[in-house]
Amino acid sequence: MASGPLDRADRLRQLCRASTRTLPALGSAVTLMTAQGVQPGAVSSDALTQALEEQQFSFGEGPCVDAFAQCRPVLVPDLGSDRPERWLAYAPAALEKGVRAVFAFPLQIGAARLGVLDVYRDSPGVLSAAALRQALSFAEIALWILLDGQSDASIGRPVEGLESAVESRSELFQAQGMVMIQLGVSLAEAMARLRAHAFIEDRRLGEVARDVVARRLILEPDRSSGGSG
């Protein structure tokens, strides 16, 4: 199986390790979340990071929790001197484990929110402009890996971002909203369906979106989701 397509957890773990090496960082983790809370399937670059992640969720507070709730990154370059009242339980516990800075990036497209990428460092300091761009890029790749997993039709696909829709981004998101209602699926799955359709028909994502918005194209319900029949 070594040459076969990696499963989602493997791809995310690879991403966490790459992020840790590149930025560089003490560790990186991707946690899956929904509005109802943390989902199973979090992956980390290493055991210490895994423990740090679990701590955030047992305390129910931390940068990751805030980044998800506020739909924007939470960047804490100096955990030791941050407002102490911000995370009463989390901050001392993370500091004790050697964390000095933490950066949390939500994995989201608009209202489709799938989780958070956390990056930990063992020395205080801001992310350089280049490191910040890289971290945001890692978050984007993690998002696409997660979106791939929303639809059976797209598993094992190379990760393709929004590049093929740069001139019709608005239409892509509008199409996503339309498909959500048409098929009665989540926003995240709607994006996966649009991408799967583009892949199968060998068309650009932006073109597919444009046709959906113009109502020249209506996506078929996913036959594979109906069970074994």
């Binding site: 924007r72 989201q108 497209i109 608009g110 209202a111 761009r133 740069v166 959500m180 048409q182």
Partner: protein, 243 residues
């Protein structure tokens, strides 16, 4: 001599400042600034683009959200006055778009087709960093008064400060946090336009207008309404969705 009445200008600044203290919705705020700029200068349209983490400009708000206009803004990923203003940090002027086909081969024909004859782009600056740009389109060709351009720049500066919400930007991180949050709230609006268009079998432009008037009638923020449209529970907005 500026063409704008000082009293009207003062009123606009007061109104914009008022928005900043109230319950704040970034998209609505930027749209307000766009609409008021159009009114003040009798311009054809105003649109505002912000740079994402890749340094690519993304559409945020416009005086008028017609699909046609959106396309003009989106092409500015590649070229156009907004991109030039963003990259140079300087005001870019195109008093006669007709003569700009060499400079902006993608942008110029689209702008002309939409009925615009002139364009100005003003950078959005914060602490030496350019974070986006504002386009002002005119229905007539011709140079703008220098004073008028200064007033536009002042409005753009207010928009920049408002966008960043926090009265004092304590650290550079806040800028990134706010910009990313703002870019994402724009995406939610587009998703909601699509969902509502499908629910009511109308166009996305009509869907936007419906959402906006519903938000106004009910004293709710546009972003909050959009968020509800794409959520699992739309029971609170049955008037809007027709469900």
């Amino acid at each position: 001599m500026p063409t704008v009445s000082p009293q009207r200008l003062a009123e606009v600044f007061v109104e914009v400042a008022d928005t900043l203290v109230d319950e704040f919705d970034v998209i609505e705020f930027l749209q307000l600034v766009s609409v008021r700029t159009v009114e003040l200068f009798d311009a054809g349209a105003v649109g505002l683009l912000l740079a994402d983490e890749h340094g690519e400009l993304q559409f945020m708000a416009a005086s008028d959200e017609a699909a046609k206009l959106l396309e003009i803004f989106e092409v500015q990923h590649r070229e156009g006055p907004c991109l030039d203003a963003f990259l140079s940090g300087e005001v870019v002027s195109g008093p006669e778009i007709e003569t700009e086909a060499d400079r902006w081969p993608l942008f110029a024909p689209r702008a002309i087709a939409a009925g615009f004859c002139s364009v100005y782009a003003v950078p959005m600056r914060l602490r030496g960093e350019v974070i986006g740009a504002v386009n002002v389109f005119g229905r007539r060709a011709g140079e703008w008064d220098v004073e008028d351009l200064r007033i536009v720049q002042a409005l753009v500066d207010v928009a920049t400060i408002g966008l960043l919400q926090e009265r004092v930007i304590r650290r550079g991180e806040v800028l990134t946090e706010q910009l990313q949050g703002a870019l994402n709230s724009r995406v939610v609006i587009e998703q909601a336009k699509g969902a509502l268009a499908q629910l009511r079998q109308i166009s996305v432009d009509e869907a936007f207008e419906l959402m906006r008037s519903f938000a106004r009638r009910n004293g709710r923020a546009l972003s909050a309404v959009a968020q509800t449209v794409v959520s699992d529970d739309r029971s609170g907005i049955a008037d809007l969705t027709g469900e």
